[in-house]
Symmetry: C2
DNA sequence: CTGTTAGCGCGTTCAC
DNA sequence: GTGAACGCGCTAACAG
């Protein structure tokens, strides 16, 4: 910048004004621009922010694994909001390690991110209290905070599963199978299984398979409807039903939790979990704090949408 | 930091030394730590880097859409390498707009990223020359640079398709169908179709469908083998073959270009494109430049792996 | 080992 | 409209 000023024969302030688009004599501005070109000068945002006491205009996203398609869609939703404010997004994985999570978060705080969006790995996040008190935004995602009082957005996995089962019950089904991972697979899986059990109240709620539907269908008193609790499981169930010629006989509602670009399963009734919308909601919450909102911790529940497309509306065949 | 120094009754340099882990008298260090706790002090990395003339320790990733699962896996690979160097990753989408691409890139350059990983949207990137000349790393991904001379990593889509077809030809197939999007769907699709045509030399290379396999199978002289050029198309083809009872009759090789967590298609022979490995390779290339390597532009070709799992090894049935 | 001083690159006062 | 000075938070160089 000094060099630019020297070459253009103006002072530093004039260069600064040109760079920041403030009113400057056209002739001088042209000289400055020429010097910028020749010298390959590039404005240093961080240095400016330092002097200006402006923020870093960046936020951090932390989850277990950034290659997770669900997180990728979430990230995109966040970006849509952040972009409007020219805020950059940093992302990092915890690999499921609470120590690594803390390390990653503190590194981001050292970079003076204005806020943090966290899909938590560890259980104790009390070490973030200081930074929150100092004005850094913090929003928990998909898992309510336990050891710190902060904003939170959650996908209603349980409610989604319940809606699926209630939809099937409303169409007369009584023997409804759950196909998908058990509670050991994580929070979402556990919640969906719980939602299934809640909605099955009064019925046989134990028609549960961890992955393979065929044994259930081959048993006595086979289910007349199936709820599949994950995208990939949904595809497996579709294949099994096709193979057995039951795709127009056994009702089926799936969960669409990973964005597969819409190319898949046109006719299957699904419960759609919109990761992108979740990201937008989380970002809105975060920026309201960055903007100074100081009320109590809020919880936003992102409700999934049941989209009837045929397979979930089949009536029971005994 | 000034406040911490005052509270601990030491100078700024002592606080700096404590924060940076340089040798300091234990008693003083304890005082400093106490003051840090009480005041909720957090080190400012950017300010330190400014004085130290150190880099920002960050790199930028730019692609059309960060919610793309392929990009997410790529991002993860990059992170694995970047993390070893405590380098943070910024990511942003171009939405397919060259103007937005330039905007996003220049914003990142304003943040003084040490390097850029670009899955290009626009055609002209000559505007990046200045920054490359000034030492910023730049690696193109999946699409060779045209208007700038820089490093590049590419997935060998064409070679992958060719390998699939050659695998089928080696098993005696002569009528092999291509199912997948046409060249208008983008670079990868066009390359895969080209690879198919190359490897089909001397045979009927026009058994091409943009998505639906059924009409081809219903025609006269139906194909004895199918190559599906995308993950989701592969799933569709599997379903169609199952439904028609041809899953053990018609040979099938698919492309596994999106990481579906391994839960899908266990028995289908695939050509695996490892986005994670591509990300690692790209990051290695980038950091070698950041470290001062100054040789000519390099091109790294990431070859996909054909994984035989049964469906690709079926022999032709006329 | 510790304190003092200067200045990284920039934006913001002020006078002019 | 323009330029000179000052300082953002921090670290490097030096002297003690």
């Amino acid at each position: 910048m000094k060099d630019v000023a020297a070459m253009a024969g103006v002072s530093l302030s004039t260069v600064s004004r040109v760079v920041n688009g403030q009113p400057v004599d056209a002739a001088l501005a042209a000289k400055v621009h020429r010097a910028v070109e020749l010298l390959g000068y590039r404005h240093n945002y961080a240095a400016g922010a330092l002097r200006r006491s402006g923020g870093s205009a960046s936020i951090g996203l932390v989850c277990e694994d950034i290659s997770d398609p669900f997180f990728a869609a979430f990230h995109r939703g966040v970006e849509q909001i952040a972009r409007e404010r020219s805020v950059a997004t940093l992302a990092a994985s915890t690999d499921g390690s609470p120590d690594r999570e803390r390390d990653v978060l503190e590194r981001m705080l050292g970079r003076r991110v204005e806020g943090l969006l966290l899909i938590p790995t560890g259980k104790d996040h009390s070490y973030l209290r200081r930074d929150v008190a100092n004005g850094t935004g913090l929003v928990f995602v998909n898992r309510p905070p336990k050891t710190i009082d902060t904003d939170c957005v959650v996908t209603d996995h349980r409610g989604g599963a319940r809606a699926a089962i209630e939809h099937l019950r409303a169409h007369g089904h009584r023997r409804i199978a759950y196909v998908g991972p058990g509670p050991e697979a994580g929070f979402a899986a556990a919640e969906r299984l719980a939602g299934y059990r809640e909605a099955m109240a009064g019925l046989d709620e134990d028609i549960v398979s961890r992955g393979d539907l065929q044994p259930l269908l081959a048993g006595e008193e086979p289910p007349t409807a199936v709820f599949s609790s994950q995208n990939l499981v949904t595809i497996e169930v579709m294949r099994t039903l096709f193979r057995l010629g039951l795709d127009r006989v056994v009702a089926h509602v799936g969960v669409d939790d990973i964005p597969l670009r819409g190319a898949i399963e046109p006719p299957v009734t699904i419960v759609a979990h919109e990761a992108l919308m979740l990201g937008r909601a989380a970002a809105e919450l975060l920026f309201s704090r960055v903007d100074g909102f100081d009320g109590r911790a809020r919880e936003v529940v992102s409700a999934p949408t049941l989209i009837p497309r045929g397979t979930g509306e089949l009536l029971p065949v005994s």
